[in-house]
């Protein structure tokens, strides 16, 4: 291993100390953790506080160092890194999906270690080597492209817009894997509103749309930097679009997206510091009014009155009786 990789590994080991040292001196506006805390200060159900600010900054530094470290490795060294330094959680859930005959969509929230997570996921998936990624420029960033190349990933870039949509659809038809990061809020013309961290979040329907059209499994993937040099990849429970087969398309798109973002929220709650979109979150989401008082039984009284005036309702739906009696 080269000197540079060794130095990066040493720096990685010292991130916690460096972040703790930086806290008293860092200007709050230059500190990513404090900036996120300030953006989230008015939200009821979001992380905050000095511990979160420090953890967020440490996560960003670790991700940057991890990427640099991985880029220093040769192909065999990277393979060894993936075997020795990447831990997997939940991989057993997805094994039958990866080795199955249906296309797969890897859906990941914006985490800094996501590129390494994708390489690790491909390393783990037997027989699947081609990843189709949406990207807003014609080519991947050279560093990421190099990482994929050394990791043995045949990465194909899909353009945004119509050509990208058609290419993604064709790739899934060829039974290839698609990588999507559905929590992108830059240019969304058609959106859904989904519950997320106690707010309604605007999200693009693309992931669910492709999954339903191609009967592709949706596998949530989370790649977080470890405290020791390495990555922890959590593979969420795969979502089968066939569960929603009997519904009309808009309803199915909503329910599948909801299932995916529920999985995202569950994982982000475990370690919120790794999500990159906290600062923008308030501007792409809307607060939900608090629910009515629990003792407000107006809807129940209305239902009871309806049942009294139309007794056939109770005959048609016998379960109503349990509610109104």
């Amino acid at each position: 291993m080269g000197i540079r990789a060794t130095v990066i590994a040493k720096a990685y080991a010292a991130v916690d100390i460096a972040v703790a040292g930086a806290m008293p001196f860092a200007q709050k506006r230059f500190h990513q953790g404090w900036r996120a805390c300030r953006a989230l200060s008015g939200l009821r159900d979001a992380p905050s506080g000095p511990y979160f600010a420090r953890a967020l900054l440490a996560s960003r530094w670790r991700c940057a160092l991890l990427l640099r470290y991985a880029l220093q490795l040769t192909r065999p060294q990277l393979r060894t890194f993936l075997d020795d330094r990447v831990t997997y959680e939940g991989a057993a859930y997805a094994q039958h999906v990866f080795s199955g005959s249906r296309p797969v969509i890897l859906a990941a929230p914006h985490y800094g270690a996501a590129p390494i997570g994708f390489v690790a996921a491909v390393h783990r998936m037997s027989g699947r080597r081609t990843l189709n990624l949406f990207h807003d420029t014609r080519h991947l960033a050279p560093q990421i492209a190099l990482l994929f190349d050394r990791g043995g990933v045949d990465a194909t870039t899909l353009l945004d817009g119509l050509p990208g949509v058609l290419a993604a659809s064709r790739a899934l038809a060829r039974n290839e894997s698609l990588v999507m990061m559905p929590d992108a809020f830059d240019d969304i013309t058609q959106t859904l509103a989904l519950p997320f961290f106690g707010r309604m979040l605007r999200v693009a329907p693309g992931t669910a749309f492709f999954a339903l059209r191609a009967s592709a499994w949706v596998v949530p993937v989370f790649a977080a930097p470890g405290r020791q040099l390495g990555v922890h990849v959590t593979i969420g429970r795969p979502i089968d679009p066939l569960r929603f087969a009997g519904l009309d398309e808009p309803q199915a798109i909503f329910l599948l997206s909801r299932a995916l973002f529920t999985s995202f929220e569950r994982e982000i709650r475990r370690a919120p510091e790794h999500w990159y979109n906290w600062e923008g979150f308030p501007s792409v989401s809307t607060p939900v009014d608090p629910p009515g008082r629990l003792d407000d039984d107006a809807p129940l009284r209305l239902l009871r009155d309806k049942c009294e005036t139309s007794p056939h309702l109770l005959q048609d739906v016998p379960e109503l009786e349990m509610l109104v009696r």
């Binding site: 353009l159 119509l162 050509p163 990208g164 949509v165 058609l166 013309t189 058609q190 693309g206």
Partner: protein, 87 residues
Amino acid sequence: MDTLVTIQRLTSERLDIPTETLMRARTFDEAGIDSLATLDLITTIEARFSISIAPEDLEGVASLRDLATVVDRLTTRKTHAYEEALA
């Protein structure tokens, strides 16, 4: 322009958008057609014109008029290929 009229009719039928709206709209956005809806339209057009549209063919396509130009180009290319095969 026959191609454009045909595509407008197919779009109207497939996506349930009035033809007048499609004629007035200069872009897909103005017509209320998003990229996911366009995917259905592409499939319909491929079947109607017996052509295969590649993702690269759609670069820069932002309206039904652009799409009609692509379809014309692909149809012409297919006709030439057929004539060459016969010759």
